[in-house]
Symmetry: C2
Subunit: 375 residues, 2 copies
Amino acid sequence: MKLRHLVCACALASMSFAPALNAQTIETERADIELQTVAQGLENPWGLAFLPDGSMLVTERTGTMRKVGADGEVSEPLTGLPEIFVRGQGGLLDVAVDPNYADNGWIYFSYSEPGDGGNSTALARAKLDGKALVELELIFSQQPKVSSNNHFGSRIVFKGDGTLFLTLGDRYSRMDDAQTLDNHHGKVIRINTDGSVPADNPFVDTEGALPEIWSYGHRNMQGATVHPQTGELWSGEHGAQGGDELNIDRAGLNYGWPVVTYGEDYGGGKIGEGFKKEGMETPIYYWLPSLATAGLTFYTGDVFPKWKGDIFVASLRAETLSRLDIEGERVLHEERLLADELGERLRHVVQGPKGYLYLLTDASDGKIIRIAPAD
Amino acid sequence: MKLRHLVCACALASMSFAPALNAQTIETERADIELQTVAQGLENPWGLAFLPDGSMLVTERTGTMRKVGADGEVSEPLTGLPEIFVRGQGGLLDVAVDPNYADNGWIYFSYSEPGDGGNSTALARAKLDGKALVELELIFSQQPKVSSNNHFGSRIVFKGDGTLFLTLGDRYSRMDDAQTLDNHHGKVIRINTDGSVPADNPFVDTEGALPEIWSYGHRNMQGATVHPQTGELWSGEHGAQGGDELNIDRAGLNYGWPVVTYGEDYGGGKIGEGFKKEGMETPIYYWLPSLATAGLTFYTGDVFPKWKGDIFVASLRAETLSRLDIEGERVLHEERLLADELGERLRHVVQGPKGYLYLLTDASDGKIIRIAPAD
């Protein structure tokens, strides 16, 4: 594995930067685009974050984090990660760079943490010293740990007020937990970036409730982002068979899983009580059949002016990048991109500092792909 | 033509009522359905309305109206229609039965009216005496008449307050007229059922504005219905190439055509200034590529309990029946029905008195098709 990456890195370094996958211009509704391979040979890349110098941190679910230069050079695995449970959907997951990175140097990452009782999703932060992660701090650990290989979430999103959101799956075997507040299964949590609990969290004064909880009744959210104008958290949730959801996750609200859902159990069994129930939120939009939605982001750049304000959603099973035209809290239209031209499971979509979009393909030979305007 | 219909009617009369098109059960997201042919041999049927006894009035765009019994028997053409301009998209269009039909016997129909300067869409009413339309009254005539074979609209919708809406196309050759209030091109109008103008219409006090106008900036609306709870008018609008719209048409508002649109001219030319502009309404939802949306209706019946509150939209080019899951003013999800199982251009969808849905296929051998639950 190491050798393969070294070869890849060298091969890339000797090629021109970000070569087009092929000469193809892809015509879409609002932009003609081309796909450029930034890096390849990554093992199931999961999270991607840009550093101020334009280089990237990328996680591999198999338990490694690497730095990828703006020139596409892929580093050796960074050292200093904690012990990670790598199995099923578990492993090293998201990565995020502190909004004040230039001042404090903090890098955050989520991962499947082994421990008493099984495993759960944890959030840690560390600083980067050359190729080593140092000053490691565990700032959150999902409770309780259970024996499960599935539904870890997780995306890390900064709210912009010194706090961050972390999305947490229901662990699959514990779906009913999503409806009770004495655990972190099927929740969005909000914490300060040092791991302490904000005093204005919705359940800090609720007896028996875990104070980190922001919203509940979720299944497995692998996409989350903050709206560029409203500052609210928008998340994409893997539904059961059918019923992937786009939600606006608001403080203290119940998003219904597993009581109300548009999906059914894999294999066909009925789940819950139907589509709607008093006191439970209806999504903004849902996908049926499921695309298996993963990372998502609002587009705010200048490179594709007609995409401004749209949400892009990466999907695994459908192998598409959905563009949602958003007006207020309405989805006016969905365009599904890349199913024919790329045909790869997509784990994540991130907007880079110059306004290009970057995709992670979910494959043992995973790639970072840049979407650029066609010449 | 007459003979063919007689043969069809007799053939149908000797068959069991509403035979299934075939034994196929069609599985959809929320109901297993089957398709039953109620009547056939209709020439481009356009409008359909139920009489209190369960029989139907159906228009043929080629200029005839017929009665179809609850048993499927198709009558000879009714007599007493006015002169109709039958060419291109013009002809006999929608038909509607007065909400107080039991008391007053009024039947309304829209059609392309020839006259000085060309033609335009008109609305008349009459009463049914056996197979004759009698007491004919012309209650509205779109101004001005122009030489055009296209974009006549039109759907007739009762508001529930003694007034009705009529949707009017921009006549294609006069699209810019849609932005000015001195004409009826690209407008929704609201009139009392006797043709007089309601005193609370939005432009009755605006100098130079035609007082029938309810909303403007439309292109060509072949679908319209009133929301069963809010009473507001929802309409479907044929966009240019791309950009069919679903709108809520509110008093006095400008829906943007041809200044803002999601479509482009057929052949690829740019239209207008983009997607949005201050003072012009954004649709609830749009289709790109165009389906060529035609009739639409909210489902309020009990036969398909999981469809309650959904909008169904018939489409011509795409040959689908779209089911839109509506929450408030949001489209949460679209399901496209029947493209594979039927494969016919659909002009209209109407809910019958018992809660079944009825479709009109747009063909020279057009059908009335009933959607029923599969056994």
